[in-house]
Every structure is written in structure tokens, then in C-alpha cells.
């Protein structure tokens, strides 16, 4: 893929428009890697000069901090801020709402101030500005799509409209779940739950949420977060509905309808 690192830009004495923060899930998780590639393709199609940190990127520290491990959070966060400030990074886009939140809201107190956009916001901007074009009557025209608000993009950072606007530009039929926007139900992964077994209970949270999503009759569950992606895919699989219902990130939906 056509991707340059910050180090390469620096070696050429140039600066990219924006830094793409890939995140651990986006880099390492098989399923999330597909999202990363889809988003990269879109950035390239739009002719955006972007860079990644590559091997210089580290975990933002979100799961460590939420588990309570402040030492570890500070270690990894301060390291990242060193790197980002060394490259004089100003603008960052990321496809992970947890990275988004930590970089945007938590790094300033540690000395890292950046202008953050989530990839769903950038997608909408690119569509609105005509920097990318979508095919008329594309793959998702008229299809029922439901959108799952991640907690860290929605309720915590107040981004509800940009992802919905992107879905509308696909000419799809957006159907809302009973609990959406401010009242959206968590997928169950946040607060470092992704890394541990559930506490004892009647049901897993992702099953509850997947059932709610499937009850809309949608054939696509659109998500904006690599952890929601895992959780919702697992939920759909647990109900053996993976052949009827697809769980896709917004950039995967957009890339399928991109006019190249």
C-alpha cells in the first residue's frame, strides 16, 4: 500500500497534511486491519498527504488508564507525546474512538495538544467537499443499515451526525435502534473489558446489543470502532446470523462505493 511514515517525510524535509493514528487494534487485529486498509485507500483516493508513525507509534494507554494503571498510562502516553512533538504533529485522524478520546482529551494535561478528527468525521468532510466521489446507486442503495454509536465517539465526545450523514450519502436506508445516540448501549468492550472475561451475569453485553441491532431488520450493522467491530461480529456469530447480517466499519462501506 502507498503509505509513508513520519520518518520518511522528515527525511525528505516535508510535512504531511495529517497524521493517521492507526492504533493497536488497527495495526494488529486481522479484522481491524481491513478497516485500516480501507481507510488508507480512501485517503489515497482523495489525494491526501498523510503519514503514519509506523513502528514509532505506541498504545495511547487508554486500556491501562481505565484499568487503573496510571503509571503505565503515563509511561506510554509521555513516550507518544515525545514522538508527536518531535515531528511537530498538529492534525491527527484516527479510526479508533478510544485513541481519539485519549489523544484529544487526555494528552493535553500531559503536554500534548493536537487537533483531532475521527475518521467518520473526515469521511463526511471528504464527501461533502467532493474530494471523494461515490457511485450512484451503489452496493448499499436502499439497503437497511443500522448504526451503532460507540460510547467514546458518541456519548463521550458528542459525535452523532457525521457518521449518519456518511451513511445517508450511500443512499442506504438508515434504521435506528431503540437505544441510540445519547442513549446508545455500549458494546461491552470499553474500560479495558476487551482484555478480560466478563463478570458473572445473565448475558454478555455484546449479545444484548447485537440482538437489538438485528431486531431492526438491517442487513448491515455499521460501526465506527475496532472494538465494537469485534464485539458486534461476535454477537452476530453467536446468533449464527453472520450470513445475513454484516458488521462493517464506515470506511469499509465507503470504500466499496468509491469512484476511482
Amino acid at each position: 500500500m502507498n503509505v509513508k511514515t513520519m520518518a520518511q517525510y522528515a527525511a525528505e524535509g516535508k510535512e504531511p497534511e495529517i497524521l493517521f493514528w492507526v492504533g493497536c487494534a488497527g495495526s494488529f487485529d486481522d479484522r481491524a486491519q481491513k478497516v485500516t486498509r480501507a481507510f488508507t485507500e480512501i485517503l489515497n483516493a482523495a489525494g491526501i498527504e498523510f503519514a503514519i508513525l509506523g513502528n514509532e507509534e505506541q498504545c495511547t494507554g487508554d486500556p491501562a488508564r481505565r484499568a487503573g494503571n496510571e503509571f503505565l498510562f503515563q509511561m506510554t502516553a509521555l513516550q507518544n507525546i515525545e514522538t508527536l512533538n518531535m515531528y511537530k504533529v498538529q492534525k491527527i485522524v484516527t479510526a479508533c474512538p478510544h485513541c481519539f478520546n485519549t489523544l484529544k482529551n487526555e494528552y493535553p494535561a500531559l503536554g500534548g495538544n493536537y487537533d483531532l478528527v475521527h475518521h467518520t468525521q473526515l469521511l463526511q468532510e471528504l464527501i461533502d467537499d467532493g474530494r471523494i466521489k461515490l457511485t450512484e446507486g451503489g452496493t448499499f442503495k436502499g439497503k437497511r443499515i443500522t448504526y451503532h454509536d460507540s460510547c467514546y465517539l458518541g456519548r463521550i465526545n458528542g459525535v452523532y451526525e457525521a457518521p449518519r450523514a456518511t451513511l445517508e450519502s450511500l443512499d442506504s436506508q438508515l434504521v435506528e435502534m431503540k437505544r441510540s445516540k445519547q442513549n446508545g448501549l455500549c458494546c461491552g468492550a470499553g474500560g479495558a473489558q476487551m482484555w478480560k472475561e466478563d463478570e458473572a451475569g445473565e448475558k454478555r453485553i455484546n449479545i444484548e446489543r447485537s440482538e437489538e441491532a438485528m431486531a431492526t431488520g438491517a442487513s448491515v450493522i455499521a460501526v465506527n470502532c475496532p472494538f465494537c467491530l469485534t464485539m458486534m461480529s461476535d454477537g452476530v456469530k453467536a446468533k449464527e446470523k453472520q450470513d445475513e447480517v454484516m458488521v462493517l466499519d464506515l470506511s469499509e462501506l465507503v470504500v466499496q462505493n468509491l469512484v476511482r
Partner: protein, 447 residues
């Protein structure tokens, strides 16, 4: 004269006793740690106005919101009437303002009457919701919290009966003895309800009934004042400071820990600091294992909690059967804070961490902690989704204490769920949330 003396003794005694209880609550709240109050004061006042006074967040569920509003506005207006009751009681006069403020008096009385009827209806609807419809978030309460929720509604009914007895008999008496019972003008309810109920009674009976209504009204108000400090209805008062002091920082920002940040900076050579650790100093406790480790704003929140359960009914962990309940977290903090305060006040040596010194907030150990109230299983179940924060109508943040307890577990006790260790190790050793054999740029290599 006897009535006047009786009034002064009862009202004075009850007010004094209530005042002492409120001061004790203040002290209990201040068991918490200081927290810097930063940010825009105008935004804080806006919160007080919109959310406490205007009850904006209540209207997410509009049926209870409307009825709650009736009771609340009736409550506010009854306070105006109270001014007259105190003047009448202290000086042995009757309806002091009736002939002094003209038509305004009639307007105020009518407003109170109409609101009282609305509050009356609302009270019965709320009693039904709690006990007949069994709305889960309310019905699930047990013991005192359950009784508390019902008691207040019964108080309300008694208060309203008192008000209408007082006004109703007064209207009839105005016709019999206008010298002692000044004209109040036509009243929306009592002008027909009074004659209908009390019309045929003799003057002596009416005079007694009017007094009964008046004293009952006063009695309920004083009782309520002394009941408040023990009740969830403290939110009538504390919702105002609580919305004012509620944190303005972004929701997604966990409070920074500068002590740890500076130490890590020192270790990484990012500060002038030599990185030497002063071994003399005792390592401080990080996070919170008791109310004294929380912020006073968290304890204020616990006292403000209306026990409405909106947080818990939105909590993904609770809704899927986990033990965690953000409402219980807040109620537990209040119970524990009360316990710690009472024990410190008792001055008993057995509660002193260091028996040489008198027991105090900083010298306290009763062998218990907040973990005896809120279990580890509960705090481990939280997804930090902020649904509870969003749901709370009085801007309480139940997530904050949960996270402080997690910090205590990991930083001070080096405990916590074993499942997290591989994640911690991976971040520490390879800068990634999982330990991986491939490198971060691997995904760029595929076509």
C-alpha cells in the same frame, strides 16, 4: 399566648435540631479530599439554572418529569406561605399579610391551592408507580430507601389535607366572624370545598379545626425539615450545589495524576528532576479505598442522589445481570461516609489508626473500607461507557469513584483482575496492547 409560646418552643427546637443535622452533613461531605474548582463560572450557573432549577434532564422521561414538576413547584410556593405561618405563630396574629398586600395575597393563595391539587394528583400517581405498577428501577429498592420513597409521598398527602382544612375552615369562618378572619378573596379550591365540607359545623368546631389544620401544616414542615437529612429528599437542597460543582472537564478525560506524571517524567529524564526517589518519604496511597480518598464532590454527589435509578437502568453491566449498579455505588458511598463520620465523632480510641493521637479524619482506621460496601466484582464490571453520567438528572458522576477504586486496587494494592496482566506487560514491553510477533507496519505490506 400559650399558642405563641408553644410555637416558639416547637419551631425553635425543631429548627435547631435540623440545623445541627445539616452541619453534620457538611462535615461528612468534607471528609473527602479537596478538588480544584476550575472552569467557567457562567457555565456552572447555567447548570444550576437549567438542570437543578429547570430540571432539564428530567424531561428525557417526560411523564415522571411533569408530575415531579408539580410537586416541586408546589413545594417552592408553599415556602412563601411558610413566611406568614412563622409571623402568625410568633406574634399571635392571623393571616398577617391578608389585608397588607392587596390582590397579591389572593393570587398567591390561589396559586398554592391549584398547585396543591396538582401535587395531590401527582403524589397518588407516584405512589401507584412505586407500589402498583412496580416500575423496576423504583420497586427494586428495599428497606429504608423503599420506605423513604413512600413516606415522603404520605407526608405530602398529610400536608395537603392540612392546607385544605386550614383554608377551607377559614373561608367558612370569614362569613361568621369577619373581624378575626380577614377576607382572602375567592379561592380556587377552598371557596367551594370549604363550605361543602365544613359548612354546617358550629363556630367552635370550626375554630378548632382551623387550628388543627394550621398546626398540622406547621408540624409537617418541621418534621420534613428534620427528616430531610436522613432521606434521599436532600436533593431538594443539594441539587443546587451539586449541579454547580459538577465537573466541567471533558467527559472522556480521566483526572490526571500529576504526582505519577512527574515521577514518570523524572524516570524518563524529561524534567530537571534527577529522578532520585526520596526513600524517606512514605509512598502515598493512590486512588481511593475509602470515602476519605474520594473527592468531596463525590460525597456531595452521594448525598444528592435521589435514588431514582435512572443510572442503573441505563447501565449495560447492570442490564445484563452483572452486580454493578451505579445507584448502589452512590448509596454505598453515602452509607460509608455516614459511618466514618459517626465513628470519628464518637472519639473512641479503637477507631484511631495511631492510638497515641486522638481519632480524626487523618487518623482513622475501623478495620473496614469502601470495598466492604462496593465489591471488586462490581467495579470490575464497568465499561466506562458514561451512560450513568448521561442519565443522572442532577449531574452526579458515579463513574469517577469507580475509577478511583480501580486505581487503588492496581496502584496501591497491585491487585486487580489477572486477565489484565498480559495487557499491562504487552504495553510495558512492546508498546502495544497485545504482545505481537508482527510489527506495526505489517498491514501496509499487503496489496
Amino acid at each position: 399566648m400559650i399558642q405563641q409560646i408553644l410555637f416558639l418552643i416547637i419551631a425553635g427546637g425543631a429548627s435547631f435540631y435540623a440545623f445541627r443535622q445539616f452541619m453534620a452533613i457538611r462535615q461528612t461531605i468534607l471528609l473527602g479530599q479537596d478538588e480544584e474548582i476550575s472552569g467557567d463560572a457562567a457555565e456552572r450557573w447555567r447548570n444550576v439554572l437549567l438542570i437543578a432549577f429547570g430540571q432539564k434532564k428530567m424531561f428525557k422521561r417526560w411523564i415522571p418529569a411533569v408530575f415531579h414538576l408539580f410537586i416541586y413547584v408546589a413545594f417552592l410556593f408553599t415556602q412563601i406561605e411558610l413566611i406568614e405561618i412563622f409571623i402568625d405563630g410568633a406574634f399571635g396574629v392571623h393571616r398577617f399579610f391578608a389585608d397588607k398586600i392587596g390582590g397579591l395575597y389572593n393570587l398567591i393563595l390561589n396559586t398554592i391551592e391549584v398547585l396543591s391539587v396538582l401535587a395531590f394528583v401527582a403524589t397518588f400517581i407516584f405512589l401507584a408507580r412505586r407500589n402498583l405498577l412496580k416500575v423496576p428501577r423504583l420497586y427494586s429498592l428495599n428497606g429504608w430507601p423503599k420506605l423513604d420513597g413512600n413516606l415522603i409521598l404520605i407526608f405530602e398527602v398529610v400536608l395537603l389535607v392540612a392546607i385544605f382544612t386550614m383554608n377551607g375552615t377559614d373561608v367558612v369562618l370569614q362569613g361568621i366572624d369577619p373581624d378575626h378572619y380577614p377576607d382572602t378573596g375567592t379561592l380556587a379550591v377552598s371557596s367551594w370545598l370549604g363550605p361543602a365540607l365544613f359548612g354546617g359545623l358550629g363556630e367552635g368546631t370550626l375554630v378548632v379545626l382551623e387550628r388543627v389544620g394550621w398546626w398540622l401544616h406547621l408540624g409537617m414542615v418541621l418534621l420534613f425539615l428534620n427528616y430531610l437529612p436522613k432521606s434521599k429528599h436532600l436533593h431538594i437542597m443539594l441539587a443546587f450545589p451539586n449541579t454547580f460543582f459538577s465537573r466541567l472537564k471533558p467527559r472522556g478525560e480521566m483526572e490526571n495524576m500529576p504526582e505519577i506524571m512527574n515521577e514518570v517524567k523524572g524516570m524518563m529524564g524529561l524534567t530537571e528532576d534527577t529522578g532520585e526517589v526520596n526513600m524517606e518519604e512514605e509512598l502515598p496511597d493512590f486512588g481511593a479505598n475509602d470515602v476519605t480518598g474520594l473527592s468531596w464532590i463525590d460525597i456531595l454527589g452521594a448525598y444528592t442522589c435521589t435514588e431514582c435509578g435512572r443510572c442503573t437502568s441505563e447501565c449495560p453491566a447492570n442490564q445484563t445481570g452483572k452486580k454493578l449498579s451505579p445507584r448502589k455505588v452512590m448509596m454505598d458511598i453515602r452509607d460509608r461516609a455516614e459511618e466514618v463520620y459517626t465513628k470519628i465523632e464518637s472519639g473512641k480510641e479503637e477507631y484511631a489508626a495511631n492510638p497515641e493521637q486522638p481519632v480524626s479524619k487523618d487518623n482513622f482506621d475501623d478495620g473496614k473500607s469502601l470495598f466492604d460496601y462496593i465489591t471488586r466484582e462490581e467495579i470490575h464490571a464497568c465499561t466506562t461507557c458514561n451512560a450513568c453520567v448521561e442519565a443522572c438528572p442532577v449531574l452526579i458522576n458515579p463513574l469517577e469513584p469507580i475509577l478511583k477504586m480501580r486505581r487503588y486496587e492496581i496502584l496501591t494494592e497491585s491487585a486487580g483482575p489477572g486477565d489484565w496482566l498480559p495487557m499491562f506487560n504487552a504495553i510495558e514491553n512492546s508498546g502495544a496492547a497485545w504482545s505481537m510477533t508482527i510489527d506495526r507496519e505489517e498491514w501496509t505490506k499487503a496489496e
